[in-house]
């Protein structure tokens, strides 16, 4: 067959989303011609697959879609917008259940808390015992360790993974004196770098394994339901890697600034820290946050529907200060920012943003940046797509045109229903979500008063109002702010709610100081369809059932 004759089978092969089986790899034909024949064979093979195999397949890597979100150099067609159509829906539910089973989320009931606490304590101490034994602790050290162990363990037998019987747990309650009040605690420097209580071990980043083919180019989510205030603890800020987390020696890291400048320079971290510093609190959000929900409700947990989101205090040097230092040409209008990771992640940044509030950040929440957030230095563009905030920043090139690199053309462009795509969609628009109640925080105290709380943010400015509906958007009540209200930062809101025990549909709707009101799904889809992946900021709905369970739903 000629090449052109083969085009049809080639297209067929590709668009059937042919998946090579392991067996095929052995026999990959070397010439293009024979490859096309093999493709046909593969399609035939694919058609012969058992229904079971097919189910697994469409659940985990449906062809429909597009990248896992904050795009990924590996996951081009993973599940981020691969939400179900009617026929595919069952597959996704399966996938979702598998996923949820693997990444258990704590349900906040008293009973489970008790079990959790016991399990965590026992597991922790067992691990500590093993470590101590390995290290051959000194007599004094061993004694301290045992004291610490006793303090932690309460009534549980040392080393055993067991549940504290209810009677034992109650023995720490009034009128009894708790066990921790009758023993010595551990000494200073037990943890030279402090960490959360072992009882908080459930508060952790989680990933959705079927979104990406591996964990090197992947994403994890911030556990929003368990966080308070507006500052995300550094260790819980969502992660996004395109070539894994690089381990960078700050002494050997350099930031190069060159291109259309008078004085191209290379700065060490020490050099950078000599410049006048600025701190600001700003949110950081992946533009694919919530991208899995474009076609329909898919993720059961606020960690997964909104958890590509964090807010920290960031400290560093204004990019405008560095640009003045190198002397930027009057013709310059764009800057390429590039990372030192294996992805050499790169984005084109307009000069206006660079001169406005872009920050070259080396500290986060009062200490050096965490490796996950770009140690030793990153770019932060407040209010803009997280992806533009290049981590592990090694280079800034000043130019007069955008570079149109992969992460601003193939990815992070918003495909519209008419086949056109929006490019350089930088701003993260006004958004909000209720973090409690949520699937992770059900209303399990029966009828009565509940405190509803959540987060609102806008990349264009400051949050002015957050309104909460309990009836699916018929009536709204204005919530009050329970945090400091800052531009381009998370803002916490709260509202008291007297629940009569009947099912409810909870929504929050934020308005920013430009007058922009967070849209409904209907409004967003009317303009953008369902294939744009990014910048989904629709009003989110939690359904509360009569039992108090909370479920992710979408309304029409």
């Amino acid at each position: 067959m000629s090449r052109k004759q083969n085009d049809k089978s080639k297209t067929l092969a590709t668009e059937s989303v042919l998946r090579y089986t392991a067996a095929a790899t052995d026999a990959v034909p070397r010439s293009v011609r024979t490859r096309y024949s093999a493709a046909i064979e593969q399609v035939n093979n694919a058609n012969l697959e058992s229904p079971q195999t097919k189910t697994v397949r469409s659940g985990t890597n449906n062809n429909a879609g597009e990248t896992a979100g904050c795009t990924d150099k590996t996951a081009d067609h993973s599940a981020i917008t691969a939400q179900y159509s009617t026929t595919e829906r069952a597959d996704y539910v399966n996938a979702g259940q598998n996923f949820l089973a693997q990444n258990a989320i704590k349900v906040d009931t008293i009973t489970v808390d008790t079990i959790t606490a016991a399990t965590v304590t026992a597991a922790t101490v067992t691990a500590a015992t093993a470590r101590a034994a390995k290290a051959g602790v000194s007599a004094v050290g061993r004694r301290n360790f045992l004291l610490a162990g006793l303090g932690l363990m309460g009534g549980a037998a040392a080393g055993a993974i067991s549940v504290i019987p209810k009677a034992k747990a109650a023995s720490n309650l009034p009128p009894n004196i708790p066990s921790w009040s009758r023993t010595l605690g551990s000494g200073v420097l037990t943890n030279p770098y402090g960490k959360p209580s072992a009882f908080e071990a459930n508060v952790q980043r989680r990933t959705v394994d079927w979104l990406t083919p591996d964990r090197i180019a992947s994403i994890s989510f911030t556990p929003l339901a368990d966080l308070k205030g507006i500052i995300t603890p550094s260790g819980l800020v969502f992660e996004r890697y395109h070539a894994g987390l690089p381990e960078i020696d700050p002494h050997q890291h350099r930031l190069m600034i060159h291109g259309m400048v008078e004085r191209p320079i290379i700065l060490s971290m020490e050099d950078l820290m000599r410049f006048p510093a600025t701190s600001r609190i700003a949110f950081l959000e992946c533009p694919a946050n919530g991208g899995m929900e474009w076609r329909g409700a898919q993720m059961n947990g606020v960690q997964f529907t909104h958890g590509m989101l964090a807010c920290c205090e960031w400290t560093g040097v204004l990019l405008s200060t560095l640009l003045a230092e190198v002397g930027v040409s009057k013709q310059a209008s764009w800057i390429l920012a590039e990372g030192a990771d294996g992805a050499h992640m790169s984005r084109s940044i307009p000069m206006e943003k660079a001169m406005d509030d872009a920050l070259i950040v080396y500290a986060q929440n009062g200490e050096a940046l965490r490796p996950e957030q770009g140690y030793p230095v990153r770019l932060l563009n407040p209010g803009w797509e997280g992806n533009t905030c290049i981590k592990w920043l090694r280079r800034l090139e000043i130019g007069d045109k955008p570079w149109y690199h992969r992460e601003e053309t193939s990815k992070y462009t918003d495909l519209m229903p008419d086949g056109t795509s929006r490019e350089f969609t930088f701003v993260q628009e006004c958004n909000s979500v209720i973090t409690s109640p949520s699937p992770e925080k059900p209303m399990n105290h029966g009828k009565g008063k509940y405190w509803i709380e959540g987060l609102a943010w806008s990349g264009r400015g400051t949050i002015k109002h957050v309104d909460v509906s309990l009836d699916g958007g018929v009536t709204f009540r204005e919530a009050r702010f329970t945090s400091i209200v800052l531009p381009r930062a998370l803002t916490r809101f709260g509202l008291e709610f007297d629940w009569d025990g009947s099912p409810a549909l909870l929504q929050s709707r934020a308005t920013d100081d430009t007058g922009y009101v967070q849209p409904t799904y209907e409004q967003l889809r009317a303009v953008r369809g369902t294939n744009s992946i990014y910048h989904k900021n629709a009003i989110h709905t939690w359904k509360v059932s009569a039992t108090g369970a909370v479920q992710n739903v979408q309304l029409s």
Binding site: H77, L318, S410, V427, L505, N531, S556
Partner: protein, 307 residues
């Protein structure tokens, strides 16, 4: 009089300075003199970016034919021999005219706007497990080959710096500037919609799980296993996902089948390379510099064998 003109000029200057520096008077270039001047050689070593107008393209060339061989060795494992994508790895070719479909397939041929993006991306970060390891001629050849897979160039095409700008991608004119805000919701407080018309169009039926799963000290695959780090750095790409028939981490059934011939044999295959009925193990996974012992440890780790 003269003084006031001077003052006016100074004020103008100050205003223009503060305009350009976002509210702060800008210092003159070199005000701090921190750091060191970047030499031409230092810049050349790091300045890897390519623009659509060809700025940044290195000397060199590469043919579709050369690209095919390199692609088979270094790319097909993830992207598939036809660019169809293996598992969840990216599809590179096909998908033409699908952008308005319910399930668009976005590839170099169907979606990307610029050939330079392809060259730049391959050069800066491919292949996935060995980023930025390709020679410029290899990047030219691979770019040519991916263009060929998308029917954009013929099979005898040779790509170089001079003809680069002549290769245009079909979707280049379909990108538009950001028009947002593009929706106009109103801040309504009462009777915002008819309650009778509210229906739940979709919901997630899976309940959040009630139990907590935490790693325990007795975890089957201890993280401090000497093979764990080797696995994560070199083996995970295939052995986590089963690419090319790779037995997956901790999958007892898959590993036991292989271990039936003895651990030493499996380790030997991993070190020297092996082609079996179901897949291919490149020698040391393609990392020739990896020590034999490291490979042995990684095999032990993945197969759950005692240290």
């Amino acid at each position: 009089m003269c003084n006031s003109v001077k003052l006016f000029r100074t004020l103008l200057l100050l205003i223009s300075c503060s305009w350009s520096a976002g509210g702060f008077a800008a210092n003159a270039p070199g005000y701090y003199t921190y750091g060191k001047a970047a030499s031409a050689a230092e810049i050349a070593g790091w300045d890897i970016d390519i623009r659509p107008d060809g700025q940044g393209l290195p000397e060199g060339s590469g043919s579709v034919e050369d690209g095919e061989g390199i692609y088979e060795r270094k790319c097909a494992e993830c992207h598939g021999s036809f660019g169809e994508g293996v598992g969840q790895f990216p599809i590179l070719a096909g998908g033409n005219d699908t952008l308005t479909h319910q399930r668009p397939v976005k590839t170099v041929g169907s979606y990307w706007g610029h050939t330079s993006t392809l060259f730049d991306y391959i050069r800066r970060t491919m292949p996935f497990s060995q980023p930025a390891s390709l020679e410029d001629n290899e990047v030219y050849a691979l770019t040519a080959y991916v263009l060929y897979l998308n029917d954009i160039v013929a099979d005898d095409f040779v790509l170089d710096r001079e003809n680069f700008a002549t290769v245009q991608l079909p979707n280049r004119n379909n990108f538009v500037p950001d028009p947002r805000p593009d929706v106009d919701n109103k801040r309504c407080m009462k009777n915002c919609r008819n309650p009778a018309e509210i229906t739940i169009s979709s919901s997630v039926s899976a309940p959040p799980p009630a139990a907590l799963s935490l790693p325990t000290a007795e975890a089957a695959l201890p993280a401090d296993h000497p093979g764990a780090q080797i696995y994560e750095q070199y083996c995970m790409l295939c052995h986590k996902t089963g690419v090319a028939g790779a037995p997956m981490l901790g999958d007892k059934k898959q590993w036991d089948e292989r271990l039936a011939q003895g651990l030493a044999v499996v380790q030997k295959h991993a070190i020297e390379g092996y082609t079996g009925k179901r897949g291919v193990m490149p020698a040391k996974g393609g990392f020739a510099d990896l020590a034999d012992d490291a490979v042995r440890q990684a095999v032990k780790y993945m197969s759950g064998t005692e240290q």
